[in-house]
């Protein structure tokens, strides 16, 4: 029976290079502890990688050196990881893909994802409504990747249908410092800004600092995304300028790991796609999205 056999589940995720990925690592480790405690016959190996190339390398290493029963992977990029994951799947390994879908969806057995387009679009819809369909805003981009691209696209598509003008858009690399610097420059450049969208809560913190220092009153809203702990606290407290965030919970990795483990624990097999919605986090529902122990 299933209980007698030893199972190995490999988890491949990006290294903690900024807040969100830090959250992913945290939740993956928590899930590892829980799973290994709950199912003594399941061994979970968490492996982090700092680039797409490194992730492919660690995939090769994991599959070359141990019999993998399942792989849970949060790919750096879809295109680059599709081939390598296909190789792993070809050995009969159960594949769970998290967050970024592969270019060829037939490879994955299970898909758990956030919706980056919705993160951008929902934020934009809220903003369009609050600003009454007009105004001037600035946007901060993250690191040039697909994730960033999709969020920006989702956001821009909605904004384009309103009279809101995007004054400027620049990269700040999901980095607080760079966001602070960039925002200072935006403030110097534009005498009137109605709202800021930082696309990520890490950057939002830098933005807020810059705006506070400049003492600018014209900025009505400063929004981020991802549901970082500190920002959720602000939402809960009913902050005027940051009344919402958008979840893009790093905990999705944990959900995916639990669902994968369920395969081997005798429960009903799980297959298919699970797309996490990106509902607005508001003071009313903020508690659901608040993990005080998470680093993110």
């Amino acid at each position: 029976q299933a209980q007698d056999k030893e199972y190995t589940i490999a988890v491949s995720i990006p290294a903690a290079t900024h807040g969100w990925t830090g959250g992913v690592v945290y939740h993956a480790q928590e899930a590892e502890k829980q799973l290994e405690a709950a199912y003594p016959n399941i061994d979970v190996i968490v492996s982090t990688a700092s680039s797409a190339t490194a992730q492919v390398a660690s995939l090769e290493d994991l599959s070359a050196t141990s019999e993998l029963d399942a792989l849970v992977i949060l790919p750096f990029t879809s295109e680059e990881l599709t081939g390598p994951v296909e190789q792993v799947a070809a050995n009969g390994t159960f594949v769970t893909v998290v967050d970024r879908g592969l270019s060829d969806p037939s490879i994955q057995d299970l898909y758990v994802a956030g919706d980056n387009i919705a993160v951008g679009a929902n934020t934009a819809k809220w903003l369009v409504e609050k600003l009454g369909g007009e105004g001037e805003i600035v946007v901060l981009r993250g690191i040039p990747t697909v994730i960033d691209d999709e969020r920006i696209k989702g956001f821009q598509d909605v904004i384009d249908q309103s009279d809101i003008k995007i004054l400027d858009i620049q990269y700040a690399n999901w980095n607080q410092d760079e966001a602070f610097t960039l925002m200072q420059d935006y403030l110097g450049k534009y005498p009137n800004i109605d709202a800021v969208w930082a696309n990520d809560d890490d950057m939002l913190l830098g933005v807020i600092e810059a705006v506070d220092q400049a003492g600018r009153e014209d900025i009505k809203y400063m929004l981020g995304g991802n549901g970082m702990k500190q920002v959720i606290e602000m939402v809960k407290a009913g902050d005027e300028r940051t009344p919402i965030s958008t979840p893009y919970p790093p905990s999705m990795i944990a959900s995916a790991m639990h669902m994968t483990a369920a395969q081997f624990a005798g429960q009903a097999p799980m297959r298919g796609s699970f797309k996490l919605d990106a509902p607005l986090i508001t003071p009313e529902n903020a508690d659901q999205f608040y993990f005080p122990d998470s680093p993110f």
């Binding site: 900024h18 400027d168 620049q170 410092d177 420059d185 110097g188 890490d202 600092e209 680093p295 993110f296």
Partner: protein, 331 residues
């Protein structure tokens, strides 16, 4: 010709050499001029103060880097060391806050200075005692410091206690007669650095070691000690930058200070310090830090380039600035 007569002449000769040293300041002037033409907001007091204040970090760290490079060394661990020191400092301050109140800040700052200097000492000792290329050693310690801060923050962020936040904020945002603190600190560190480098025995030996280590050794200079000390100075400067850095955003994250090493080294080299050692220009370094910050600022203020190409234009400007001052200054 009498020796008394000879000894009175340094000024006239000294003046000729200064021209080359002025290059970074001229470059800075030109870039500022361009900025003014591109955007009228550029020269606003507010923008100028922001830019100058921001450049403080690179300038302060750069003073230390000038020492390291002058001895013929190189330090790639600067950025991660900053993050590590910031992390330790925040943890120390948070731990001390309950019992010491606002006094936690100066105590934490002292802790930072000690930790920074020790980090530098470690780099220096591995390099000089182990006789390994500084490039390799500091690449290694860069990984080590970065990993440690990631570990300390659990991949997330490490924020300073709310209770300290307000007391500490002025160290970045405050000013004396309109001059922001970080600018004052930068000036102080640069003055101190210039004094040590140009007016003390140690400074003499720094350039001697970088110029020709064998000659220095024959002359009784403890080459290893001089090199190690330069790394300690580097660590100290990193800690000073950390002290100014924390009040700005109040937190350490695994991305704090990422790739700053490249920026700092660029500032130092643009400032006229030779990468092979033996020549050092503290004030050039400060100008170099300003040049980098002003270029970045002008890029954002100008509307001319696609966000994708900002980095390209920045890179090109730096190269062109160097080319220009190569072809104008001397020959």
């Amino acid at each position: 010709m009498s020796s008394a007569e000879i000894a009175t002449r340094p000024e006239s000769e000294g003046f000729k050499i200064r021209w080359g040293d002025l290059a970074p300041f001229i470059a800075l002037g030109v870039i500022i001029l361009l900025g003014t033409m591109i955007n009228s907001n550029f020269m606003s007091a507010n923008n100028m103060l922001n830019v100058i204040t921001r450049s403080a970090f690179i300038a302060i760290i750069g003073v230390g880097t000038t020492f390291v490079i002058a001895t013929g060394g190189l330090d790639l661990s600067i950025g991660s060391m900053l993050a590590f020191v910031v992390g330790i400092m925040v943890m120390a301050m948070n731990a001390l806050a309950p019992s010491f109140g606002p006094w936690a800040i100066p105590i934490g700052a002292v802790v930072a200075l000690v930790v920074g200097s020790l980090c530098g000492l470690m780099n220096g000792l591995i390099i000089t005692v182990g006789r390994i290329e500084p490039f390799i050693v500091t690449l290694g310690t860069m990984g080590i410091f970065r990993a440690l801060i990631t570990y300390m923050t659990d991949g997330g962020s490490l924020s300073i206690d709310r209770s300290l936040r307000n007391a500490y904020r002025p160290v970045y945002f405050g000013d004396v007669l309109g001059v922001p603190y970080p600018v004052i600190i930068t000036l102080f560190i640069a003055l101190l650095g210039a004094f040590i480098l140009y007016r003390t025995k140690y400074g003499r030996r720094v350039t001697a070691v970088g110029s020709n280590a064998d000659v220095a050794r024959f002359s009784g200079v403890h080459v290893g000690r001089v090199r190690t000390m330069a790394f300690v100075i580097q660590g100290f400067c990193v800690a000073v930058a950390a002290i100014c850095y924390v009040p700005r955003l109040g937190a350490a994250t695994p991305t704090t200070g990422q790739l700053w090493e490249l920026q700092v080294i660029t500032a130092v080299v643009i400032g006229g310090t030779l990468l092979r050692g033996g020549k050092a220009h503290i004030w050039g370094t400060v100008a170099g830090a300003l040049i980098l910050e002003v270029i970045a600022n002008v890029m954002v203020l100008s509307d001319m380039v696609s966000e994708y190409l900002v980095a390209a234009v920045q890179g090109a400007i730096i190269i062109i600035a160097m080319l220009a001052h190569r072809f104008t200054s001397s020959r």
